[in-house]
């Protein structure tokens, strides 16, 4: 399994794309992973599920606009160089 750094970047881009397409209303709330369903327990450390939901929400918020640019660059590179 010979990796190059570019294949790592592509794999990371695919993973972030996968997280970014999870829609809040249509999907995450239906399976109980919406952010309005996380009970904030003060004084107690949040569990894995809450942390994961927070992570998904923050990735979607932060990466929505940069993903457009990075995806376009990647598509152009793939078209040019295969």
């Amino acid at each position: 399994m010979a990796f190059t750094l570019y294949s790592l970047i592509q794999a990371a881009l695919l993973c972030i794309n996968a997280v970014a397409v999870l829609h809040e209303e249509r999907f995450l709330s239906k399976i109980g992973w919406g952010v309005d369903q996380s009970v904030g327990g003060f004084g107690d450390e949040p569990g894995i599920k809450v942390q994961l939901m927070n992570l998904i929400r923050s990735v979607r918020t932060v990466m929505r606009v940069p993903l457009i640019g990075v995806n376009s660059v990647c598509i152009v590179l793939l078209l040019l160089f295969g």
Partner: protein
């Protein structure tokens, strides 16, 4: 041939062949009376060119470099430009990572490196695994042998790449692209491992003082085991490879578990929040054990193709 105004050039005189006669016009030192100047050596022509103008201005012949105001002004401007450029580069780098934090990881000395390599290969007799602190800041690797450093991982990584090139050359499978491919593969595996560790530490809200550089350091220690394994495989054949693989895997697993246990797992004298954390210590233990088990797998993966 020891003329008075040549005193400052006394150390640079060499017995070289004289320049051709056609260049004699440029190299003639008109300020001296001796015609045999051309055979003096390599460094005299430059001084000679400044010599005549010096004597024309009447300045002493010692400080040829600063006699010309244009040259000295240009030099000062150039040095101020260089300083500005250096400041800008430092500022930009400091935006991404703290250079002081990085310097901490490279503050090593020979004694530390030798002891650490011994511990990496034979950790079973090491007693005290606690990282010592000095008023809330961790001690540098020079003073504490348990502190992680980045010198050994970096050197081991480079040595591993060179060793991989040599092993492939022995098998007549070498080409320069393979070296780059090997290096980037190993680098990618380190990045993946560090990212997975960071993700799992974040998800389980483990409030440890393990920074990214610490994780890179602990991930990089496996290269020492890899180098040992590949060397034994090259010297003693396939049997030596498997024996060395088993030995370095056990040593590395022990080392990782003992080192990370201090940082990740909660201390015995725990806090008052005893409730709700029943699954936590188990999950933290799983993380530590999973990290340890991952090491032999990756050692085997990255070295098996080098030793056939």
């Amino acid at each position: 041939m020891d003329l008075p105004h040549q005193g400052f050039r006394a150390t640079k005189q060499r017995a070289r062949a004289a320049p051709s006669a056609g260049d004699a016009v440029l190299f003639d030192d008109t300020s001296s009376a001796a015609p045999g100047m051309n055979s003096q050596g390599f460094y005299t022509p430059a001084y000679n060119m400044a010599g005549p103008s010096n004597d024309l201005q009447g300045a002493p012949g010692v400080n040829n470099l600063f006699a010309d105001p244009m040259a000295s002004a240009a030099m000062m401007y150039g040095s101020s430009l260089a300083n500005q450029g250096k400041d800008i580069v430092n500022k930009e780098i400091n935006r991404f990572m703290s250079v002081n934090k990085l310097k901490y990881f490279f503050a090593v000395d020979t004694r530390y490196v030798l002891k650490k390599l011994m511990i990496l290969m034979f950790p079973y007799t090491h007693q005290d695994w606690e990282v010592r602190y000095h008023r809330d800041t961790p001690l540098t690797p020079r003073q504490d042998v348990n502190a992680p450093d980045l010198y050994i991982p970096t050197m081991a990584f480079i040595t591993y790449i060179l060793l991989a090139g040599m092993a492939l050359g022995i098998q007549k499978r070498f080409s320069p692209e393979v070296l780059g491919l090997c290096a980037s593969t190993a680098l990618v595996w380190i990045i993946i491992e560090v990212l997975v560790m960071l993700l799992s530490l974040y998800l389980l809200t483990v409030h440890s003082d393990l920074s990214t550089f610490d994780l890179i350091a602990y991930s990089g220690y496996k290269y020492v085991g890899m180098i040992f394994t590949v060397m034994c495989g090259l010297m003693f054949g396939s049997d030596g490879y498997y024996v060395a693989l088993a030995w370095s895997s056990c040593a590395l697993m022990f080392f990782i578990v003992r080192s990370l246990k201090m940082k990740i797992l909660p201390s015995i004298s725990s806090d008052s929040m005893g409730m709700g954390s029943n699954s936590k210590p188990q999950l933290r233990l799983y993380i530590t054990v999973a990290t340890a088990v991952f090491q032999p797998i990756i050692i085997y993966w990255l070295t098996s193709h080098l030793v056939r």
